[in-house]
């Protein structure tokens, strides 16, 4: 027998897998197929209205919470176009998973912060940073993508202190972690400028309190209904001018905003998860990992080519964090399966006061030259 013959016999004991032994791979493919629109489907332009780097921070300053529209990701390095996660459909329904999450939430500890106290949370986040380069030579700049745009994924550890009744200043401590390329886009040179730095910032709403439906402070959240149907009405409130699917997406976003960097008591939390299950188009995704690497199961709403997900522990159904995964390359301008946002909610506690670094913060000082509708600039931005 020649060497090829001998080689052919090496490991020939490995059998051809039976069809059912390919179920996990088949499941992941079918999920990707289901998420892909027919080629002839109308395409909506990707919204590029977001501002500069630090979007999440500015939103946080403006509203007092991380009302992030997009989210974070964990990648292990290497080729960003290949290092991707993919939704995976499983047999449980999204509503069933949300019911299980509601059961778990209803048994969680009641923190009961007093109005003068603070809600302290820790999280890890990865969000997209989008910039339009105004330089006319931008197209020749190798660190810019099509049309002089640049994108990357910035990652941070966040510690935030928020007034329980939103009557006082808050404080935010951000540690900047190594950024990731936005899949399909080159990493711009400035993306690493802040890596390793820790920022300590005051959070001042500058007197703009916003309508009640947008509030996420602890005192307001505990006044919300504990009945799922009534909670659903809250999710859909304040939506003047929106119609159809936009209303459903806005409701889904409202639910997400009530979960990160907030304290939502067990009864309202339970109602929120059941209400989220009533939003049309919410679907289940398997195999979702949060920003801290915790394995979870996710429920998702797909919006403009991106699957925006809430993650739950696979065993306990405790809320873990959020994730965003590309499902349509033409809309999201990034390969299908790319993780473009990821968060992990790591801790929530009640604090009696602000941390020492915030002692010198003066209300209003950040607010002097803020244009209408914009947040104050970050200290070193």
């Amino acid at each position: 027998m020649d060497e090829i013959g001998r080689l052919e016999r090496l490991r020939e004991e490995v059998p051809l897998p039976r069809p059912e032994e390919l179920d996990p791979e088949r499941g992941r493919l079918h999920a990707a197929i289901a998420a892909a629109p027919p080629r002839t489907a109308p395409r909506r332009p990707y919204p590029l209205g977001f501002g500069l780097r630090g979007l999440g921070l500015k939103v946080a300053l403006a509203t007092g919470v991380a009302a992030a529209v997009t989210v974070p990701l964990i990648m292990t390095g290497g080729d960003p176009a290949i290092e991707t996660f993919t939704p995976d459909r499983v047999r449980l329904s999204a509503a069933q998973v949300l019911d299980l999450a509601a059961e778990t939430a209803s048994r969680e500890e009641e923190l009961n912060p007093r109005p003068e106290q603070y809600v302290y949370t820790e999280s890890q986040t990865m969000y997209g940073s989008f910039a339009m380069t105004v330089d006319e030579n931008a197209k020749a700049n190798s660190s810019s993508g099509p049309g002089g745009q640049s994108r990357y994924l910035y990652r941070t550890e966040r510690r935030i202190w928020l007034s329980a009744d939103r009557s006082r200043l808050g404080a935010l401590m951000i540690k900047h972690l190594e950024p990731r390329p936005y899949p399909g886009w080159p990493l711009p040179a400035h993306a690493k400028d802040d890596v390793g730095q820790v920022e300590r910032l005051p959070l001042d709403d500058c007197g703009r309190k916003g309508p009640d439906w947008s509030r996420t402070d602890a005192v307001y959240l505990r006044s919300l209904p504990t009945d799922p149907e009534a909670m659903r009405e809250h999710l859909y409130s304040g939506q003047d001018g929106k119609e159809g699917a936009d209303r459903d997406y806005a409701a889904w976003n409202r639910a997400r905003e009530m979960l990160m960097e907030t304290y939502l008591p067990p009864a309202q939390r339970s109602a929120l998860f059941r209400a989220a299950g009533l939003i049309p188009g919410v679907q289940l995704v398997d195999r979702a990992e949060d920003a801290a690497g915790r394995e979870g199961i996710a429920v998702a709403k797909i919006h403009q080519g991106v699957s925006e997900e809430l993650l739950f522990d696979r065993l306990t159904y405790r809320f873990l964090g959020e994730r965003a995964v590309v499902t349509d390359e033409s809309q999201a301008k990034s390969p299908v399966g790319s993780l473009i946002a990821s968060t992990a909610a790591l801790k929530v506690e009640v604090a009696d006061g602000l941390p020492d670094f915030a002692k010198g913060f003066v209300p209003g000082r950040q607010c002097t030259d803020v244009a209408d509708g914009e947040a104050p600039p970050a200290s070193n931005d």
Binding site: D2, E3, I4, R6, L7, E8, L10, R11, E13, V14, P15, L16, P17, R18, P19, E21, L22, P24, E25, R26, R28, L29, H30, A32, I33, A36, P37, P38, R39, T40, G78, I82, T86, E329, P335, V336, G337
Partner: protein
């Protein structure tokens, strides 16, 4: 009850299914049913069962994403799929080498053990296995890819060239050099192989 796949009188070739899947994404599932088992067996033989699931799933996800760039002149999608799988296998090169080294040192093959109950203690088979594994581990990755697509993937030289995206002459040269090394390892004529045998024996 419906059969898993509708019977067709004249089966479409892979290129036709691929073309249809551009506008009907669900048609792509047929290509998985046709080829996934074969691809998975190949991946298991190279990386063991632990890594095969991810590599095979990713192979078909990448193929699905790139279906628009498939060359419609190629009626058989296997070389293309093997090429994608080969790239993904390359990300686990250390795993592949580590498994081959185990075979080289111990004569027992962890890749095979989970699939077989008998413990093969025939000395000659074990010796040949150890030599083959040792030689495979020492090949340059590009040579190992070509050789194993031929021996384990059952691809022709031309298909191997298509899978790897290199000219057929390159494939011939890689396989020729790889075969020489394998032959030397099996014959024990290669002083390098002998020294390794002594060291680890």
């Amino acid at each position: 009850m419906n059969p898993p796949h509708p019977a067709v009188v004249v089966p479409e070739d892979d290129a036709a299914v691929m073309g249809r899947s551009r506008d009907e994404p669900e048609a792509f599932a047929e290509l998985f049913e046709r080829h996934a088992a074969e691809i998975k067996r190949y991946v298991i033989r190279r990386l063991g069962a632990d890594h095969a699931e991810d590599v095979v799933a990713e192979t078909f996800l990448v193929a699905f994403r790139r279906r628009g760039s498939y060359d419609p002149a190629r009626s058989d999608a296997r070389p293309w799929l093997y090429g994608i799988a080969t790239n993904l296998i390359g990300r686990h090169r250390r795993t592949e080498i580590r498994l081959l080294r185990v075979v080289e040192r111990t004569g027992a093959d962890p890749v095979v053990e989970s699939f077989t109950e008998r413990s093969d203690t025939r000395v000659s088979a074990t010796a040949a296995r150890r030599s083959l594994a040792a030689a495979l581990a020492r090949l340059p990755a590009a040579h190992r890819n070509a050789l194993l697509l031929l021996a384990w993937g059952g691809l022709t030289y031309e298909e191997t060239a298509a899978a790897l995206g290199v000219p057929i002459g390159t494939v011939r040269s890689r396989i020729s050099r790889a075969r020489t090394k394998m032959r030397a390892a099996l014959g024990g004529a290669d002083p390098t192989a002998l020294r390794e045998e002594t060291t680890h024996g």
